[in-house]
Amino acid sequence: MEQSARSFCFWSTFGKNLRAGLGIFLLLCLSCAGWASDEILIVRVSDYQNQRELLIDSESKFHLPEKVTAAIHHEIPLLFTTTIVLTESASFLGIKYQRTRRTIEYQTQLYAYGVNHHYVLYNTRNQNVQSFPTLDAALETLGTLQSFPIATLSELHPQQRYTIKMRIKLDYWKLPAPLIIDAMMDSDWRINSGWFETFLKTPQSWQ
């Protein structure tokens, strides 16, 4: 009886310790997430419609830290995640609320390759591969969206107010394993544009 009580006591303590440990990890994870820096600057996001479809163009500037640039030159593949969120603002009985109508997220891998040292962009969404002779050209392409389809107009209501949020960030958890500890310690690796938010102008032109 005493043994079982002691055993129960131990597992109870062990559970408490485990919970405390997990709590600290979560805190650490949260501290790592949502980090906004000025290495990526989303300059513009503009919307328009074409053939009953909502499209956007966007332009972003990259000012990657030297450490990250050096990693690219050493053929370390970097994975950038682009997230576009379309939210609809509405009110019900005077209570305002927002709901997400569309979330688009895709990864683009940037890496240098070959003896000629071409910089390659590989879009995981459409499997497109494009190589560039310079890093700047590759980054410009990475930061540029042209006629990017968001939603069909039939899905949207012209009377509602819509917001488009866009964010580009480096997914440092997908770096090569030895770099992860460095990335956790060094803020240079926490490249994140933060959310760029703009109101949708297109619905006004549907009238």
């Binding site: 043994q3 055993s7 131990f10 597992w11 303590t13 062990f14 310790n17 485990l18 405390a20 440990g21 997990l22 600290i24 990890f25 650490l28 994870c29 050096a70 990693a71 030159h73 050493h74 053929e75 370390i76 240098a112 390759y113 070959g114 003896v115 000629n116 591969v129 190589s131 958890w173 997908k174 090569p176 394993a177 030895p178 770099l179 992860i180 500890i181 460095d182």
Partner: protein, 727 residues
């Protein structure tokens, strides 16, 4: 066996499980770092899991150490050995582990540095340059050939593009030649197998570039191919001189597979080398980190295992210590639980057996002691209640015990001198009256084993006593004699009673034998005087008268004496009745009232005095005798004072005190003052106080004498109350 496994799992299971999982995690992480890309996605999760696991172990260790500290503060048995062994084991494990860690860390750093030697880097760089130059040359050559061939076949292309592109392809040895206008519309193309599959057009940017009269030649990879297939794309502008229309010609040249493979190989090797060279520092950090975690894991697990093992080892010791502690506090009922059947288990079983035997023996001793105590108390009670005085002495004649009767007989309390010798006890002033008695007793101790008897006169404050003393040795266990016992009886009263009986007998004989002839003697003397008085001469007549008068006076005296003896011997039977003592005393005192007398008799009566069971006439005689005795004692005083005081002694008896202010009675006379014919007075029968004592005895009362020289004398009489008054 299964119970052992169960016990192991219960005590060590969680540490083993956690350590095992952490170790596997660390191995996987190590593999990932060594380019095991299949688990690369899990690296961060494993890293956190490992951190968490080590952190949990650290918390558990801190908690365990804290518990040990608390146990140390509480002085839990076995804690010191637990701490000492844990410290020793940690030291023994920690030092080699730390040494291994140091060298491993050095080897990692050196090893990783050695991976990236300068020669390899230069060789790879050179190989890359070589391949790049080769491909650049081939690209440049392809461009130059295309330009020169286009210049030759310029007109043909303008006039007949289909024939032109075919000829061009054959002349250049190209894989594919296509001809576009600047609107990116394909005009003609040629492929080696005449396939209808349209060629891949140059991109918009290339069209734009060519429109600006800038040629393009580059090595590209064919999109969509399962195996990376490289080719040289050459795009040149062509202008129709006749109509001045710009065109775009694209020619693709295959790169030989051996060159492609070499290129790929060099590119891959170079890329990997570059990647690794960049990751040199992080790799070192990561390996060092993993090694540190391994070190921590090893140490933490070892310490926790050690603590648990040492606690398991010390548990029987703790159990035994608990048992001995309980026994030291007198708890022999404790039974230690036997959890394991090893040497310690056998020790605990033996301990339990020993405890049980000790408890049994202790109970028996207790019982024996209890019985001895009961016996002792029983004997003490008997001795204490004996009317005989009992004093026990040890071998060195030191007082061990004495009962109350001894205190009363010896008229002193020798209890404070228990443990002291008799000589020490009598050396004090308070006990000096015992010195003569004990000086006669102690010589009898010189002859052990012999019982002895002694009758001795003994003078003390209570008066002269006659003691009958018996002596004997006390048997011992180890020795023949363990001490001595003195039993003493106060036979004063017995002797007095015998004397009283003898005097009564004498009185009866006197009354019977002397009283009868006295009257004829008196009558004869009177008759003799009457007959011869007138017949004698004056001188003889006077002599006769004086002699017969003497005879008559002496006969009268003898008659008085005989009457007194008769009274003493033939006292009537006492008739007890309820008597108002105060009234009786008052009436007697009134009789002695004489304002002219030099003495005074006073009564100090307690108004609450109850009735007593007494014979009034006998008590009247008692008081007359005492007053008479007091008056005789105070006859030489200027103003004699006799006080008769009554008071309630307690619920059972009253006290009557008859005091005078005479010269008092000497110490040595006190004992025989109540004996018949014990008078030192020239007059009197010497039976007054003897009669008083007799009357008191007949009333079941007590009489005491309290007298000291020049302080007067008090007779204290205690009489019982009637049963009604008691209630």
């Amino acid at each position: 066996m299964s119970s052992l496994i169960g016990l192991y799992l219960k005590q060590y299971g969680w540490i083993t499980l956690l350590s095992g999982v952490l170790l596997i995690s660390l191995v996987i992480m190590s593999q990932i770092l060594q380019n095991a890309s299949s688990f690369a996605e899990s690296y961060s999760a494993l890293l956190f899991f490992t951190f968490g696991g080590v952190f949990i172990l650290l918390i558990v260790l801190v908690r365990t150490l804290w518990n040990l500290y608390k146990q140390y503060k509480k002085r839990i048995p076995g804690i010191k050995i637990t701490i000492r062994l844990t410290f020793l084991a940690t030291l023994l494990m920690g030092l080699p582990t730390a040494t291994i860690f140091y060298f491993s860390q050095s080897f990692i750093q050196q090893g990783i540095n050695q991976w990236f030697d300068v020669k390899t880097e230069t060789a790879l760089e050179n190989a890359s340059t070589l391949v790049r130059i080769t491909l650049d040359n081939k690209t440049r050559e392809s461009l130059n050939r295309t330009l020169s061939t286009v210049k030759e076949e310029h007109d043909l292309l303008a006039d007949s593009p289909i024939i032109g592109v075919n000829r061009l392809r054959n002349q250049l040895g190209a894989q594919e030649v296509s001809f576009y206008n600047t609107n990116q519309q394909l005009i003609a193309f040629s492929s080696p197998d005449g396939s209808d599959i349209l060629p891949t057009p140059p991109g918009d940017n290339l069209f734009q570039q060519v429109r600006q009269k800038i040629t393009y030649a580059a090595i590209e990879t064919r999109p969509g191919a399962t195996v990376p297939e490289k080719f040289i794309r050459v795009v040149v502008p062509i202008t129709d001189s006749n109509i001045n229309t710009p065109y775009v010609l694209q020619a693709t040249f295959p790169i030989p597979s051996n060159i492609t493979e070499l290129d790929e190989s060099v590119a891959t090797a170079s890329g990997q080398y570059k990647e690794l060279s960049y990751l040199k520092a992080p790799l070192t950090t990561s390996f060092t980190l993993i090694l540190t975690i391994v070190l921590l894991l090893t140490l933490l697990t070892s310490i926790l295992f050690t603590i648990q093992a040492v606690q398991n080892f010390a548990r029987p010791i703790r159990t035994l210590a608990r048992g001995t502690k309980a026994i030291s506090k007198g708890d022999y009922s404790i039974q230690m639980p036997v959890k394991e059947h090893d040497e310690f288990g056998e020790l605990i079983v033996s301990f339990n057996d020993m405890t049980q035997r000790i408890a049994q023996a202790r109970n028996e001793i207790k019982m024996g002691q209890h019985q001895a105590e009961v016996q002792k108390l029983y004997l003490q009670a008997i001795i204490q209640n004996l009317t005989s005085g009992v004093i026990t002495l040890d071998m060195k004649q030191r007082i061990r015990t004495m009962n109350d009767a001894a205190k009363q007989i010896l008229n002193t309390d020798l209890s404070p001198f228990i443990g002291y010798s008799l000589s020490e006890a009598v050396s004090t002033k308070h006990n000096e009256h015992l010195s003569e008695l004990f000086s006669q007793i102690t010589p009898h101790f010189d002859d052990p084993g012999q019982n002895w008897n002694l009758q001795k006169e003994f003078a003390c404050k209570d008066g002269q006593k006659r003691l009958l003393i018996h002596g004997s040795t006390l048997p011992g266990i180890d020795t023949q004699t363990s001490g001595y016992v003195i039993v003493m009886d106060d036979i004063t009263e017995l002797v007095q009673a015998q004397l009283h009986a003898a005097w009564s007998d004498v009185a009866r004989r006197l009354a019977h034998e002397i009283k009868n002839p006295l009257t004829p003697i008196q009558l004869s003397a009177e008759r003799l005087n009457f007959k011869l008085h007138d017949k004698l001469q004056d001188k003889d007549q006077s002599l006769l008268t004086r002699m017969t008068q003497t005879i008559i006076e002496q006969v009268n005296t003898m008659q008085t004496l005989v009457q007194a003896f008769t009274d003493y011997a033939n006292t009537p039977e006492v008739r007890l009745s309820r008597l108002d003592l105060n009234s009786l005393i008052k009436s007697i005192v009134d009789m002695y009232y004489d304002p002219k007398a030099p003495w005074q008799v006073k009564a100090l009566l307690d108004p609450k005095m109850p009735f007593v069971a007494a014979d009034g006439s006998r008590l009247r005689q008692l008081f007359h005798n005492l007053i008479k005795n007091a008056l005789e004692a105070t006859e030489n005083q200027e103003s004699g004072l006799i006080e008769i005081r009554t008071e309630i002694e307690n619920a059972k008896q009253v006290k009557i005190t008859v005091c005078d202010n005479g010269p008092g009675i000497p110490e040595q006379h006190k004992n025989w003052i109540f004996e018949p014919y014990a008078t030192n007075k020239p007059k009197g029968t010497g039976l007054g106080l003897a009669v008083v004592r007799k009357i008191v005895d007949e009333h079941h009362g007590q009489i005491q004498l309290k007298s000291s020289p020049q302080q007067g004398t008090c007779f204290i009489i205690k009489l019982p109350l009637t049963s009604r008054e008691r209630e």
